[in-house]
Symmetry: C2
Amino acid sequence: MSSSAQDRRRSLLQETRCDSCRLSSLCLPLSLDTNDLERFDSIIRRHPPIKKGTRLIEQGDPFTSIYAVRSGSLKQTITEGSGEAQLTNFFLPSEIIGLDGISDGLYTGSVVALEMTTVCEIPFDRLDTLSQTLPELRSQLLRTISKELHQDRRMMQLLSRKTADQRLACFFLGLSDRFRRRGYSPFSFRLSMSRADIGNHLGLAVETISRILGRFQQQDLVAVSGREVHILNINDLTRLADTETN
Amino acid sequence: MSSSAQDRRRSLLQETRCDSCRLSSLCLPLSLDTNDLERFDSIIRRHPPIKKGTRLIEQGDPFTSIYAVRSGSLKQTITEGSGEAQLTNFFLPSEIIGLDGISDGLYTGSVVALEMTTVCEIPFDRLDTLSQTLPELRSQLLRTISKELHQDRRMMQLLSRKTADQRLACFFLGLSDRFRRRGYSPFSFRLSMSRADIGNHLGLAVETISRILGRFQQQDLVAVSGREVHILNINDLTRLADTETN
DNA sequence: CGGGAGCTTGATGCCAATCAAATAGGGTGG
DNA sequence: CCACCCTATTTGATTGGCATCAAGCTCCCG
């Protein structure tokens, strides 16, 4: 093995350590000190990179691990009875996948990569054991699940009380905020999901997404080119997103 | 104080102890042994009965405790921005209220009693401390939150992919199942919530609820008299609830 | 460069919201 | 105990927003 290959390998290993991960302040170990961080780090498993369209989790499989997104993005879809799949969630770097599987011991939905994606696998039983002695970790785990609950409730409001335009505005603002928190521009970003995915997630037809995008561009709210998005007028977009006339 | 009053008082105290609560097998302490149960019991606070229409929790108040419903029922509503309130949840006996407040340290919605209701107050900091030494309790807490996540995801599917008829069918079936688990008849029960509450929860107008109820009765799926519900044909109702044509 | 998935645009129809009004119910005070 | 009032519920008529169906277009990607 050449020296440069060794370097690359070491760099990869290094890269997967929490203490050198620039996402650690957003992720599960957020409030651990150096020593505890190392203990947390030691239970994490490497996971091979996931190619676009590849499934990380299959709905109904036994629940064993949760996953933290390191890079890339994924979508979760739940198929219920004879119904069509519902896209319940998009996952961006530092977000945690699989928490809804704890209760039944089964993953409740399938999770598929939207682009080349890397994740950290965290075996749940070891996490649980570790959380016994690390109150901060336990607390952060609860906070993370609880936050997801909160977001789901907001999503329920979106789905039952907002118009199509408001839904898409909320979606863009939500993405914008998530990018901002991760240190990216909140005004310019690339969608890793298709229009169909967005429509499915927001409870709208693809055609509706397309039409609203056109309308938003006419109003100079956003500029869209393919999957490239620029938010031009975040004030009006925000105003639109929570207009009284729900 | 008369002897009978003393008896009643003792009986009330007795009644609030987990080990004599017939709901304990559905509630948080579900998997604790006698000894651990006592420790859990000791952190629970009495809470005065809540009259119909009275608020237990105000949205935005600091998060301090979670509550287990002992008898009666409640609704949670979330008010977002300038929008109208969204009814996110109904709580029946043994269900846990307030878990979505953990993440931000604030209650995310207001909770109001739908009838005369009693609850057990569980201070969260003490629960967290106790869960450090009781793995079963920790596990059950996580399972409970995770289950709520799961249910929210199903709700999202209902709101975005189901017709009005299917939504109401799902609602009845969900209630039926929850009553069954609690030892009540899954076919005859009394709704503690108004048509308006049901509509709000399902993302439908009151008038729509009323009309669908009429239709369901014509089809002999259910018999409804005021808030008294009898499920007459659970097979057809189930079939309707997850028809392919979403 | 060709094929195919993804996206856009147009025309039409339907489900459920909204507006309007009548009726039933249920709790309260006389 | 009953009449009354206010709220909850039902029923009808109309409207509108978004889905659906149908084509045409574009952009990747092999």
